[in-house]
Amino acid sequence: MQVTSTVRNPLVTGGKTIHDITEDVCRQVEGKPTKSWMLVLSMALGALTIGGYALAMTLWEGIGMWGLNKTVGWAWDITNFVWWVGIGHAGTLISAILLLFRQKWRTSINRAAEAMTIFAVICALLFPVIHTGRPWLTLYWPIPLPNAFGSLWVNFHSPLVWDFFAISTYFTVSLVFWYIGLIPDFATIRDRATNKISKAVYGALSFGWDGAAKTWSRYESVSLILAGLATPLVLSVHTIVSMDFATSVIPGWHTTIFPPYFVAGAIFSGFAMVLTLMIITRKVYKLEDYITISHIEMMNIIIIVTGSIVGVAYLTELFIAWYSGVEYEQYAFLNRATGPYWWSYAIMMTCNVVSPQLFWFKKIRTNIVATFILSIVVNIGMWFERFVIIVTSLHRDYVPSSWAMFHPTLYDMGVYLFSFGLFFTLFLLFAKFFPVINMAEVKSILKSSSEKRN
């Protein structure tokens, strides 16, 4: 017997039935592409093309097209990388950790969040690949193969190699997790398909799903096992990304709080991006009864929590820099806050620490427009956080004659635009051809957690 307390808000509103769920979600997959979808897709493809030009020029001419110099050897590329990887945390967090915590509200948002995760990780992987300058060799370099061209192995001491393993494992598990969840829904679409092509395509995608009790039992077991495996992976990915910096001896990078603080920041930005995408999707696809204000409120609460954890970490770093008595450490933070990049530090602090606190007000965290704006503000802040950490720690080298500034070129921006184009193209294709809500799992909570028709 399952009991639901009276203090819980319903997770599905509008008195939906099981059949309504199927109709509401499948309608988008089965219908013809709408004009607005075509318009947005062409915008995404436009960004992809313009960005593609910048990318092609970078590959043809070399990394010199970017604004890097001898002192600042990492800037936009690694900032974008960490930013995208961070965004790629929310999906698997929702599907894995929230599954382990039996959070039923995850069922309406996990599908799209996981898709977002996968696309964000793809965008993230672009940057280290491009930064190698010779992407056609990239896959060969980090894999520890016996080296046919010489006697060198990969440097196992390097966190960059750990990154390769962590992210590729995470990507694989996230993809499998996402796909397993899709199988029953593909079968639903297959069973409803009226034309041969859809039937064949969705039939192949659904792996012959038969909906038997035994099949469902296996589905649940696999989900639980994958959730158990994915949980440490979610945490490990950004931990290792943080170690790219923290294992160094650069002031502002070498600090022990980095692993958990990066993970919190990643979840923070990931949830912000989920909100940005879901608020539009629920409106366009009329899914307000599935992604309710309570769902948005829950996500906003996670944003407050993770944003505040990040805020505590910022203040801890500042305090310990002073407390340590290490002058390099002290200068690194003084320079962040008052040096030539003070404005990026100010943006970071405002967007990441101050603005999420607005969600303490129930009026704001249950307001769609405010949430949408703040979700974008958070991601601007998180981009600047990585920029601040990376560039301000590097640009004032130990010897003042090596001090330099980083000025992005059009190609830096172009490659970033390319990643946006890629991300939105993939997401739009997903939103059109795949069911954006996990129908099967929403149906499973309908009895216990929905608002009944009056």
Binding site: Q2, T6, V7, P232, T239, H254, P259, P260, Y323
Partner: protein, 424 residues
């Protein structure tokens, strides 16, 4: 409705008293051995002190350090009780509604912990030349003196006795205050019923959690980090939180099992134990995560000012075994023993692991506090065991006494039915 009340009966009291007496006896034997025993530690140290010009090592220092370890350790369990209680409300957890009185009762120790903290801090630092906290040595700040330490002098704005005392009192005012507020609302809910108390507790809990997020870190810096005055680590506050949290979870689990075995908590079944077991399992791993983050980043970067902390612990005769034992007891054992579903659903395994976890994290605090205060003179012996037992029995008396005064089940908790029918 379920009405249960814990009877803090004579047999239970007797058992706890026996533990306390055993602790006192061990402590006395330990002190006698330290004075007259064949170890000769005191004697050697005394000679060394003459050569080195330092103060002689005396067993009373060891006693102060042990008292401090226990203060911090048991205070941590108590505040984690309140924190766990608060988390259940803000997270809208349903499964735990039936056991919430146990974490709440842990908070009863807080007022006593506050007095003990102030008392030991005062006695250990002001009764002799020796200080529990190195930074309290006034000669470090005398710029013309031979002991002048520029780094410590640079921290004087934070590490000075008045400010330290103000902070300590502030923490306790906040913690004890929120404990009483939450308890008051919980008891009022028992009588009046309705959902409104639940919403009030959600609100109070959220405020408490914000304050605890800050004070847990700053208190960890004050009470533990500042012992190794030169050393610093940004993750330290979260590391202490992790250590406290997993100890608190293990304590809650043990008390739940104890009550269940004595015929109380009819609402609890193996599903609830399973969830508690998962918590202990997961947060043992989380503790290890913070441990590894701190250790690995310092080890890898190999900066002498930071690495010395681990050199003193990992590569020194008195502490090497403790250092590795810490990791084995607090990570490998819970990780392996609680891996399976069955282990988390049966009381035998859970009891073994929870005792290990509590013992292991006591060791963890020992390892953080002793090397910085007693240097090479630290040992794990009867004095440590005795003081820990005395504290544990006092703690249990206070907690059980508190528990016996309130209904054991929050009968009007809006999630109680969910908890009763909890099934995983």
């Amino acid at each position: 409705m379920i009405e249960e009340k814990f009877d803090f009966s004579a047999p239970i009291k007797k058992k706890i008293l026996q533990m306390g007496i055993a602790g006192v006896v061990l402590l006395i034997i330990g002190i006698i051995l330290a004075n007259f025993g064949g170890h000769g530690h005191a004697h050697e140290a005394h000679e060394a002190a003459h050569e080195g010009g330092h103060h002689a090592f005396h067993w009373i220092q060891r006693l102060w350090v042990d008292l401090w370890i226990n203060n911090v350790f048991f205070m941590g369990i108590a505040i984690i009780g309140v924190f766990f209680f608060a988390i259940q409300y803000v997270a809208q957890a349903g499964w735990s509604a039936g056991i919430l009185r146990i974490p709440l009762a842990l908070g009863n120790w807080l007022p006593i912990a506050a007095i003990l903290m102030l008392l030991v801090f005062g006695l250990a630092n002001f009764t002799s030349e020796w200080h529990l906290f190195h930074w309290m040595d006034k000669s470090l700040y005398d710029i013309d003196g031979p002991n002048y330490d520029a780094i410590i002098a640079g921290k004087a704005a934070y590490l000075n006795t008045p400010f330290f005392m103000v902070r300590m009192i502030t923490y306790f005012v906040i913690w004890v205050g929120f404990f009483f507020l939450l308890k008051k609302k919980a008891l009022a809910e028992d009588i009046q019923g309705g959902n409104s108390f639940w919403y009030k507790k959600v609100r109070l809990s959220a405020i408490f959690i914000i304050l605890f997020a800050i004070t847990s870190s700053t208190s960890a810096w004050d009470w533990i980090l500042s012992i190794d005055t030169h050393w610093f680590s940004t993750i330290f506050g979260w590391y202490i939180f992790a250590s406290w949290f997993v100890t608190g979870l293990a304590t809650i689990t043990l008390i739940v099992i104890f009550l269940k075995k004595n015929g109380y908590l009819s609402i609890v079944n193996s599903n609830h134990l399973h969830d508690l077991g998962k918590f202990v399992f997961a947060f043992s791993i989380f503790w290890t995560y913070t441990w590894f983050s701190q250790f690995m980043l310092i080890y890898y970067s190999n900066i002498p000012e930071e690495g010395i902390y681990f050199v003193e612990r990992m590569r020194s005769d008195p502490y090497m075994l403790v250092f590795f034992g810490n990791l084995i007891i607090n990570f490998f054992l819970p990780f392996l023993l609680l891996m399976t579903r069955d282990a988390k659903r049966h009381t035998q395994f859970l009891q073994i692991v929870c005792v290990l976890v509590i013992f292991g994290h006591w060791i963890d605090f020992y390892l953080m506090i002793t090397p910085g205060t007693l240097k090479e003179n630290g040992t794990l012996g009867l004095i440590e065991l005795g003081t820990a037992l005395v504290y544990a029995s006092a703690f249990l008396v206070v907690v059980f006494n508190g528990l016996s005064k309130i209904p054991l089940i929050a009968k009007n908790h809006p999630m109680l039915e969910e908890s009763k029918h909890h099934h995983i």
